[in-house]
């Protein structure tokens, strides 16, 4: 009796759903506008033809930095607002506390047809937005004679930074432009290392593992290495052993190579021998605090954390510390971090205004200011000297300023994880189904874990492959 009524109600509901579904707003098709400019513009000439006079466009920039950085960005943008000849007004907004939050917000906004004008996005996130037709290729803007960058300008940018934004999944389209970058470095406790008998930071993994295990004293809560639930740590290890996460043409995930297997096996061994400690997910930046307290010898983390590590050590155990290139087998490798800024598809005029804001943020005075205040790397080579001397002048940085300077030499070894759409769930798979398993189970088959993970990852890759006709 109840079932019968239920069935009738459900059928009615289903019918309603189908009807109501038709009310969903659809994405409008784009036609070439006046003057033959498509949306988005596909050639530099089209960009040149855009006229911004009198339009007074407002550009909104979504980012994930904390409040004091928001103030810095806005002050830089205020200067842009004062000096640009087109009446463009730019405004920065904190869209979330992490890249993930910003990503979620943007996806929701895209679903409802109201994205911001520009926002920070990792390359793989940009690819995901591009898949939905929500962001645009910046190449015509960069190449535009009137509004773009000159050859000299382009050369001033660190080439590896610019390269990382050309997306293989979309035939090399530039889906973002860099305004900051950082790399994953190895933080180490220099005093402790010396006590253990090492005169310099380990260069190869074997020595590194030895040192970490020597340092470990679980009874006194001291460990050689702080393991973070971060797939990027795994990626760095794979890179340093000559492997890759994604194949160069972006067609398949390849982290189950021997490099991957060895990296994972090392992690498994270190936990089996209690040479490493797991920083729980809930203890955010726990590795930083424990490092500062002298409980951990080695940490792999972003170079943008330099000011924070300095503070932690100062308030903690006060020792000599430094950063170095992570250990490697044959050739050094360093994981290039840092999101770029992407422009969302709106109208050609607004897209151009958005591009001009990004261009401004990448200019030398801005990138110097930004790097000095946040510990990120500046994106222009000409800014390098200014930033380094600023750190050297600041007494709180001390010898770490020298290490910061060395990062620029390491850039030649930079590698990028995976700039394709759908990489975020793959990172979770690497963390939860691969790394988390080996740290808790000293006997699980490492190769099998990796093979299963790669199979899943490739499925996600296929699912997120660009649709035809976009």
């Amino acid at each position: 009796m109840f079932a019968g009524r239920l069935r009738r109600v459900l059928t009615l509901l289903l019918g309603l759903a189908a009807i109501l579904g038709a009310c969903v707003p659809q994405a409008a098709p784009t036609q070439p506008g006046p003057g033959g400019i498509t949306n988005p513009p596909t050639t530099p000439e089209m960009v040149d033809a855009i006229d911004l006079t009198g339009k007074n466009i407002e550009v909104v920039y979504w980012h994930n930095r904390p409040q004091r950085d928001q103030e810095l960005i806005q002050s830089m943008l205020d200067e842009f607002n004062r000096t640009n000849p087109y009446g463009i007004r730019a405004r920065a907004e904190i869209a979330g506390a992490s890249y993930n939050d910003v990503y979620n917000k943007i996806n929701a906004a895209i679903q409802a047809g109201q994205p911001p004008d520009i926002a920070v996005a990792y390359q793989n996130q940009a690819a995901f937005y591009r898949n939905q037709g929500a962001i645009i290729d910046l190449t015509p803007f960069i190449k535009s004679k009137k509004y773009g960058l000159t050859e000299e300008d382009l050369k001033d940018y660190f080439p590896i930074f610019l390269e990382s934004d050309a997306n293989p999944q979309f035939k090399g389209e530039r889906l973002g432009f860099p305004t900051q970058r950082s790399v994953e470095v190895m933080y180490y406790n220099a005093d402790w290392l010396r006590q253990l008998g090492y005169t310099e930071p380990p260069r190869d993994w074997k020595t590194w593992e030895e040192a970490a295990c020597k340092a470990s004293d679980p009874a006194n809560r001291k460990y050689g290495w702080a393991f973070r639930h971060d797939a990027s740590n795994f990626a760095s290890m794979v890179f340093s052993r000559g492997g890759r996460i994604l194949s160069p043409d972006g067609s398949a995930y390849v982290f189950n190579s021997p490099a991957g297997v060895e990296s994972l096996a090392m992690i498994q061994r270190m936990f089996k021998n209690k040479c490493a400690v797991e920083i729980p997910v809930g203890e955010r930046f726990g590795e930083q605090n424990r490092f500062g307290n002298g409980e951990v010898l080695f940490v792999f983390a972003s170079s943008s954390g330099l000011p924070f590590y300095r503070e932690a050590v100062e308030k903690g155990a006060k020792f000599n510390w430094d950063i170095s290139l992570p250990p490697y087998t044959e050739r050094p490798a360093i994981n290039l971090y840092g999101a770029s800024v992407s422009v969302f598809k709106t109208t050609p005029e607004r897209e151009l205004a958005a591009w001009l804001v990004i261009k401004f943020l990448g200019e030398r005075p801005q990138t110097v200011k930004w790097a000095v205040n946040t510990g990120y790397l500046p994106v222009r080579q000409s800014a390098k000297a200014d930033v380094i001397s600023a750190f050297e002048r600041d007494p709180q940085w001390g010898p770490v300023a020298r290490s910061y300077a060395r990062i620029f030499d390491w850039l030649q070894y930079a590698m990028v994880e995976s700039p394709v759409a759908g990489y975020d769930p793959v990172r979770t798979i690497i963390d939860q189904e691969v790394m988390s398993r080996v740290i808790n189970d000293p006997n699980v088959d490492v190769k099998k874990l990796l093979d299963d993970a790669v199979a899943k990852a490739n499925e996600i890759l296929r699912e997120n492959a660009p649709r035809s006709g976009r």
């Binding site: 189908a18 579904g21 969903v24 895209i110 729980p280 809930g282 979770t428 939860q432 988390s436």
Partner: protein, 326 residues
């Protein structure tokens, strides 16, 4: 009553009178109904529509029941349901048991009863976001309150929220025995989360049980005592049966709550370690936000909804025979 039955002022007799009454009634209901229709019912239909699609900014392709079939074939879905069911199964007896225990104690006309009840209720009143954040630090394996105390006492320090191994396996290992995989039991991480939920909800259960206890008429106890029953027998034969409506209600609430649980698990473990605490809600959230599989997550939500519905109906049937009313 009054001597003579006077005419009631309303509802007026006759069809127009009745019609006005009905219209008035529905007018009163209108605000609530409109709000529910717009913000609960319509989104369900919309969500159903999404679940039948391969969804990207709109229904890219109508795929019918494919998302549902995929869900049934996905081993992680079953795992998530298993975790949720385990969580639920642990919660009901322990939370209700503790709730009844403390309620019974408080019922003994203890001094300071109101203060105790207030204190027990505090965790329920506190914001989940705040208390889950605090408990995350309490549970920290190396720096948290619990392990610091255990360490000072020389006791073993489990890894709580970071421990995926089953509790039975851990205990057995402590005794030198290695259990087979199927007997490992729920992960310590899940148990740790469950301890937190118990802390939050026991106060609420106590309050409800107190009300239930207060409803049992003394005459029944007197009658039973006359028949020679005492102490435990009284409890078993009078208190428990007469508490059954309360117990039933609380178990339904607890089951529904555990199936929908999300906030605290997200804050404490994000579903980890591995998938040890990935309940159905966490899994659905993941599919929605990380994988951006709108259609799939919508289908999963419907499946979860049905599961809750079925469980409630089943509980209703099962309890129907056992719950005793006056």
């Amino acid at each position: 009553m009054l001597g003579r039955k006077k005419e009631l002022a309303y509802p007026k007799k006759g069809v127009p009178g009745r019609l006005r009454e009905v219209l008035f009634g529905y007018a009163l209901l209108a605000p609530a109904l409109i709000l529910l229709a717009v913000f609960e019912f319509f989104p369900i239909l919309y969500g159903l529509y999404i679940s039948l699609c391969s969804w990207r900014l709109g229904c890219a392709e109508f795929i019918g029941a494919e998302n549902y079939i995929r869900a049934f074939r996905d081993p992680q879905v079953w795992h998530a349901l298993l975790v949720t069911a385990t969580y639920s199964l642990m919660s009901v007896p322990v939370q209700l048991g503790l709730g009844l225990f403390f309620a019974y104690l408080l019922f003994q006309k203890v001094k300071g009863q109101e203060l105790f009840r207030l204190i027990f209720f505090l965790p329920y009143v506190t914001s989940t976001v705040a208390s889950a954040a605090v408990w995350t630090y309490i549970y920290n394996p190396d720096r948290g309150l619990i392990n610091t105390v255990l360490g000072a006492l020389g006791l073993p320090q489990p890894r709580w929220l970071a421990e995926p191994t089953g509790v039975f396996a851990l205990v057995a290992r402590g005794l030198g025995v290695e259990l087979p995989a199927w007997a490992h039991g729920p992960s310590l991480a899940l148990v740790a989360v469950f301890i937190y939920t118990t802390w939050v909800f026991v106060g609420y259960d106590i309050t409800i049980f107190l009300a239930g206890l207060g409803n049992i008429p003394t005459e029944l106890y007197d009658a039973a005592r006359v028949d020679g029953a005492k102490g435990w027998a009284l409890f078993r034969h009078v208190t428990i049966p007469l508490l059954s409506p309360t117990t039933f209600f609380l178990s339904v609430i607890t089951v529904i709550g555990t199936f929908k649980a999300f906030n605290h698990i997200y804050i404490m473990t994000m579903g980890g370690p591995g998938t040890a605490t990935t309940t159905a809600s966490i899994y659905i959230f993941r599919q929605l936000y990380e994988y951006n599989r709108y259609g799939y997550s919508a289908a999963l939500s419907f499946i979860l909804f049905s599961a809750i519905l079925v469980l409630t109906i089943v509980q209703n049937r099962v309890a129907g025979r056992r719950v005793v009313y006056e």
